[in-house]
Symmetry: C2
Subunit: 110 residues, 2 copies
């Protein structure tokens, strides 16, 4: 049973790791709006195409996005819509960081 738990945690960690990059979060947020081809994303992001492609590959391998090849281009879209629910919680974390920081500046407890 222990090994099972470890495997489960590793699997979850891999999904989170795939999301844990600003460019990849940007991609996810763009794909929330609508599907995009690699070239569009590349323009929006402003990095080398190969860099963007590799980020997309990471997200795809993590099961977060799906590729749909149409003609010359590859369009990507979100596979799991609930991804956006993450951010509310992440924001809560960031807000409590900010609160703390403010308190520290105001002379609160360390």
């Amino acid at each position: 049973m222990f090994q099972n738990r470890k495997n489960q945690l590793t699997a979850r960690a891999n999904v989170l790791k795939a999301l844990a990059h600003p460019t990849r979060l940007f991609i996810v947020e763009e794909l929330e709006k609508e599907e995009r081809c690699v070239c569009d994303l590349t323009t929006l992001i402003g990095a080398d195409v190969s860099t963007v492609s590799k980020h997309l590959s990471v997200l795809r391998q993590a099961g977060i996005i799906i590729a749909d090849k149409r003609g010359n281009q590859v369009f990507y879209c979100l596979r799991v819509p609930c991804i956006l629910n993450f951010f509310g919680c992440v924001e809560s974390v960031l807000e409590s960081q900010a609160t703390d920081h403010a308190a520290t500046l105001a002379g609160g407890v360390k």
Copy 2:
């Protein structure tokens, strides 16, 4: 405005990155149940104390957990309860991975 967005995405990514490790996910799940001191967590995890301490430090710096020093020991607890909401979605991702994998084995489209 662009720089703002980038900063926001980086901040979010940092929180996700802090969560993106099996040991740290284990810690978070333990702390959901009740607060724990470093020594308890170390026993449960079965790694070196220094390793566990460093993981705790990562979670603390990300604003996910809080340390409470009482006498000799340091007790940690979750700062933001909503963290567990993450996992439902993460599991959805993993399930669609599994579905896909099954389909592939069954001879589905690549």
